[in-house]
């Protein structure tokens, strides 16, 4: 059955950033439609057991996947979404890509070995556990980001034997989780995982740690399949499209959350969902991620007005500089945002960080 839908804001993805954007859209009085691939809204936040409030006025289509996005520079964009027994033809002035990110794969973090069963990414493991499956007995979680920690604690609370292998050293203690530091270089086992090789951070000595399950939580990549065919420019630092201060990649096509940049912290994923839905396509000022930066978002400004700048640093803690604007501040977290009001005569802002 074909169903035609029209909205002023179409949001693809009802995870933490998409939901935040839906709230923004409703505040502006826009007729809002949200499509979600999964069975219900909330994304990774819900999988971690946190409560998520969904704005009821935004029409939600669960288990509905947007498979095509046709960009129209002069008017309404068109989307095709599929659900069981249904084909949706959707038209909207503004489209928000909130498809989130995916975890880095074992290969991306250079884990060699065979390809036995029992290797999961963090999100995959969470989905399985929420789906009523037991993923193993003796688990090693590899990573030191927010997700690695939450997941380790969650698994321990469910009775799994959990060790966390932190690639950058980790100094706090976690309840019922043994913490090791090192880099996992190889996974052992041909059929099912039977251990990993952990290389020490300082001496580089290698130790075999037996386990039957390896969960990888070493970072993310934006999922931007939907805009791949469109004429967007990709920033290799974020792995997503270049955006302006409205987080617009093309006129009326916005990116938020994990699909905008590989954010590690939930608060930034959500914060990036606050859209004003302005449009400003004239490309005025470049924002450049300089020394010490992993990425910045946005990467360009249409006009020199106040905007929110998201940053991710290679090391923490750091002192952040924007020399062109004489901004110099201490930042305690590796990833965050600040408000910047650029002066009129600049063509370029460089963001740098020093230890």
């Amino acid at each position: 059955m074909r169903v035609e839908l029209k909205g002023e804001v179409i949001i693809v993805g009802a995870g933490p950033s998409g939901i935040r954007t839906a709230w923004s859209a409703l505040e502006k009085g826009f007729k809002t439609i949200v499509f979600e691939w999964d069975e219900s809204f909330g994304g990774i936040k819900k999988l971690l057991g946190h409560s998520v409030k969904y704005p009821e006025e935004a029409k939600l289509f669960n288990k509905t996947t947007v498979v095509r996005l046709q960009y129209n520079p002069k008017g309404k964009h068109r989307l095709i979404a599929l659900a069981r027994g249904k084909v949706y033809e959707v038209e909207g002035e503004r489209v928000v890509v909130a498809t989130g990110s995916r975890d880095l794969t074992p290969a991306a973090v250079k884990i060699a070995g065979d390809r036995p069963s029992g290797i999961f990414t963090a999100t995959e493991a969470l989905r399985l556990i929420n789906g009523g499956y037991v993923i193993g007995n003796d688990v090693i979680v590899y990573g030191s980001n927010e997700m690695a920690i939450s997941l380790s604690v969650l698994l321990a609370s469910k009775g799994y034997a959990v060790r966390l292998v932190a690639p950058e050293g980790f100094h706090s203690t976690l309840k019922n989780v043994e913490v090791l530091s090192g880099l996992i270089t190889t996974v052992l086992g041909k059929r099912r995982v039977r251990g990993v090789v952990v290389k020490g951070l300082n001496e580089g000595n290698e130790v075999e740690e037996p386990c039957d399950t390896l969960i990888i939580s070493r970072g993310y990549k934006p999922m931007i399949k939907l805009i791949e065919g469109l004429k967007v420019n990709i920033d290799w630092r974020t792995g997503s499209a270049l955006v302006n201060e409205n987080f617009e990649a093309l006129k009326g096509i916005y990116l938020v959350g994990g699909s905008l940049a590989p954010f590690e912290l939930m608060e930034n994923v959500e914060k990036s969902g606050n859209l004003e839905f302005d449009t400003s396509l004239n490309h005025g000022i470049d924002i450049v991620a300089g020394k010490g930066l992993r990425f910045v978002v946005p990467q360009m400004l249409g006009s020199p007005k106040e905007f929110t700048l998201f940053y991710s640093l290679l090391k923490q803690p750091s002192r952040l500089f924007i020399p062109e604007e004489n901004i110099e501040i201490d930042v305690s977290k590796r990833e965050g945002y600040l408000s910047v009001r650029p002066s009129n005569n600049k063509k370029r802002l460089t963001v740098e960080a020093y230890e």
């Binding site: 288990k63 794969t105 060699a112 099912r192």
Partner: protein, 476 residues
């Protein structure tokens, strides 16, 4: 103790790799009872799976069996891809010179290939065609007939087409012994025995063991490991790329900066010798940097790209370093040592095999109802530009609308059909439907695939057969 064989066939092929499958298809043109016996749960899990999917333009030395069958096989792929509806593109290979010495050699190499009758062009400013090439790259040889095929689609298509033409498949069945009889052979397996008038040994890395079982020990397989990296992100080149080698290595063409049929960047394979364990498909920690560094010489921007998948295959190289296609004794044929360019040569190998069988007395009576055209299963992904076609499909079968794999856009109907066809492992589903093979590598869809198995009443699902359990279900 003697047990009557459970099954009797005219031809038993041991090994459901691409070689065994092409032979089976060739035989299925005739009035014969053909069976393929495979130890793995699905087809193509040996050297075939570790392949890069490249259809080579040539193989040196030209006068070797592999050299001749490579050229012949290459020519056959247009028709094969049409008949079997398998994605195949002649992307062309650029053999690039990066330093002065290589550039100096290039015109001579060009003339050599010309003389040998290979279609080749001399490209003067190769960076015009591939702007991301190293700044030092100037000249290149262009081989337009080199291509890339979807190996998984090819394997699936061959199995389907063979089945349609009456070939039977026996998976999860390991051959343990072969006994010569007055007429033919008895093949003993872990699941009963099979009597066959002809046995064709296409057992890949295990071909020497199978041959010895049949009483012929004339060759040894020395597997050579090769690791490949699939990269994430937008592709940086549009042709198959390799650096002009200053010296040819008889053991490897040296890999390349390659592409998969669907445009993903693929680097490798490298070469590791002296593999003692024929099931050892493990990569080494050093492979990542070695492979990326090697091809950064061609495309410097590869430094900024993340690997998505690393995989390792075993080349089934023999002590002769050439293909071994022989009939050492009546009723028993070896098709062994099919190293690179085995995938390219496979259809030509199959023709040679059938011709040899016929010369040795196998009676070939053409079937009147042979179906050469395989009809591809419907994939939602391939219909997305035609909304009317999707509407019709989803209207008829609602599950085509439910997308399980958001990266590769695989529907629940496609997953369920594959399960119903007997692909009962996660790897089997993956290679059959393309799910779990995209950007997220299954992070999103694995749980949904497991649920689909449960819905169809299959509870014990493994990744790739015995011992590779994935999850247990919470009871109650």
């Amino acid at each position: 103790m003697s047990i009557e064989p459970q099954e009797k066939v005219d031809v038993a092929i041991i090994g459901a790799g691409v070689v065994g499958l092409f032979i089976a298809r060739e035989l299925s043109r005739y009035e014969l009872k053909t069976m393929v016996i495979e130890k793995e749960p699905d087809a193509g899990w040996g050297a075939t799976k570790g392949n890069a999917g490249i259809i080579h333009a040539f193989q040196l030395p030209f006068n070797s069996l592999k050299g001749r069958l490579c050229l012949e096989g290459n020519k056959m792929y247009d028709e094969i891809s049409k008949e079997l509806e398998v994605p195949f593109k002649r992307l062309g290979l650029l053999l690039v010179s990066i330093n002065a010495l290589e550039s100096l050699m290039l015109p001579f190499v060009y003339l050599y290939f010309k003389l040998k009758g290979i279609e080749v062009h001399l490209i003067r400013n190769v960076r015009k065609i591939e702007p991301n090439l190293n700044e030092k790259a100037s000249m290149a040889l262009y081989f337009p007939t080199a291509g890339v095929v979807s190996v998984f689609d090819l394997v699936n298509a061959l199995v389907e087409n063979c089945r349609e033409n009456g070939v039977t498949f026996s998976f999860n069945r390991k051959v343990s012994g072969i006994e010569e009889k007055k007429e033919g052979y008895i093949i003993y397996t872990d699941k009963g025995s099979v009597e066959a008038s002809w046995v064709i040994n296409a057992a890949g890395v295990h071909a020497d063991e199978i041959s010895r079982m049949a009483g012929y020990g004339g060759f040894t397989i020395y597997p050579r490991k090769g690791t490949l990296l699939i990269l994430a992100g937008k592709r940086l080149y549009n042709h198959l790329l390799a650096e002009m080698p200053l010296k040819t290595d008889p053991k490897t063409k040296g890999g390349g900066a390659l592409l998969t049929f669907d445009g993903k960047m693929l680097l490798g394979p490298n070469l590791i010798e002296k593999v003692s364990d024929k099931e050892d498909k493990s990569s080494a920690p050093g492979d990542f940097d070695d492979i990326i560094k090697k091809y950064q010489r061609l495309i410097p921007a590869l430094a900024k790209v993340d690997p998505l998948v690393i995989y390792t295959g075993l080349r089934e190289a023999s002590n002769t370093n050439d293909f071994i296609i022989n009939i050492p004794k009546k009723g028993f044929m070896n098709v062994a040592g099919i190293q690179s360019p085995g995938l390219t040569a496979a259809p030509a190998i199959a023709r040679v095999v059938v011709k040899m069988l016929s010369e040795k007395g196998l009676i070939l009576k053409e079937k009147r109802d042979f179906v050469s055209q395989r009809k591809k299963r419907k994939k939602v992904k391939e219909l997305l530009d035609d909304i009317n076609a999707i509407e019709e499909l989803v209207g008829k079968e609602p599950d085509y609308g439910e997308i399980i794999c958001p990266c590769e856009l695989v529907s629940k109907a496609e997953i369920a059909n594959a399960i119903k066809e007997g692909h009962n492992t996660i790897d089997g589903i993956k290679f059959h439907t393309g799910s779990c093979m995209g950007e997220c590598q299954g992070s999103y869809c694995l749980v949904r695939i497991l649920d689909a198995f449960t819905e169809l009443g299959l509870k014990e699902v493994t990744k790739k057969g015995e011992g590779s359990w994935i999850v247990r279900r919470v009871e109650g």
